[in-house]
Amino acid sequence: MSAPFFKFGAFGDEASLVVAFAIGIGFGFFLERAGFGSARKLTDQFYLKDLAVLKVMFTAIVTAMLGIFYLSWMGFMDLSLVYFGSTYLVPQIVGGLILGVGFVVGGYCPGTSVVALATGKLDALVFLAGVTVGIFGFGEAWPAIAGFVNSTDLGPLTLPQAFGLRYGLVVFLVVVAALGAFKGAEAVERRMARREGAV
């Protein structure tokens, strides 16, 4: 076992901030490469014209998931030392819905708006001002909503645990679901392009 490097004391807190900056550069670079600095490209997902959001996200999840699975199976990485957030089912369902609405209303999510700002989009700056005000509102409302935000705490629950399946089987099923989603996405895009052409 040697990974995660930071958890095995390979470097300290100060150096971890340099790592954060470097990883952020990679993150921002690929978000922009994918076209996610553009609100119209992002929201085309919800008008079924361009399903790049689905394709990029699902591919990234599958890539990282397979890497984690393989590295821990080889004994190189200790998965138990990787941060794993608890599931708070109802707040996460409600939060996801609000976030989805905010995505179409605002045109970005927090990460992609940073990339859009970096490439000169003024609407991204206004969007980020909105994010900041939204978080401030949430913070001010905290005493009243804390009970709800902390409700339905299921602990650090994995999909394999939730469905009583083996980890490797769930990994396989996610890959199959991704391949199916990609095939479907390509078909939908072809169909929408034909319809556009006919008008």
Binding site: I23, F27, E32, Y47, T132, G134, L159
Partner: protein, 192 residues
Amino acid sequence: MAILNETARLEPRSTATAAARREAAPYMNPYLAGVGLGLVLLAAFVVMGRGLGASGAFSSLVAWLVSAVAPAHAQANEFYADYLGSGVGHPLKDWLVFEVLGVLVGGFLSGLLAGRVQRGVEKGPRISTRGRLTLAFTGGALMGIGAKLARGCTSGQALSGGAVLSAGSWAFMLMVFAGGYATAWFLRRQWQ
């Protein structure tokens, strides 16, 4: 194949405005960009033992601003206090804050190399700039609230939690798409 499709789709829009602005390079194939993003995410797990994030950096910013204006108020609030930490280090000396600064630099570098750095407001042809900016602010505020309710956004929950197969993250992700599709029709004048 997909690269060709991408180029073809962008052609009409870019030729129409070719005289007005510099030709921007086509976007990367989405599957290739996804693999790149996935490897960056994997690197975060292997090197740091944690995933990526975005909204958390803005929570630190808000907590710091509130504590600068009203220190006692911020300390008495569990939500802000969580982001202010023990008070030993500066609240902005935080992993996610540095990561988001990197996102700003990485996004700019990629945009610069592709000729895509250009000042402007992005919107569909059927909405005014003022209307678009009002919606951008409103959407941002909803996003801030939703991300805090869900304990993360598309980066921290969907991507990072999704890759480690967190049940809550997958439930969250499905709901993001559900919320988006449910709203798309009402907002079509902004985008299409």
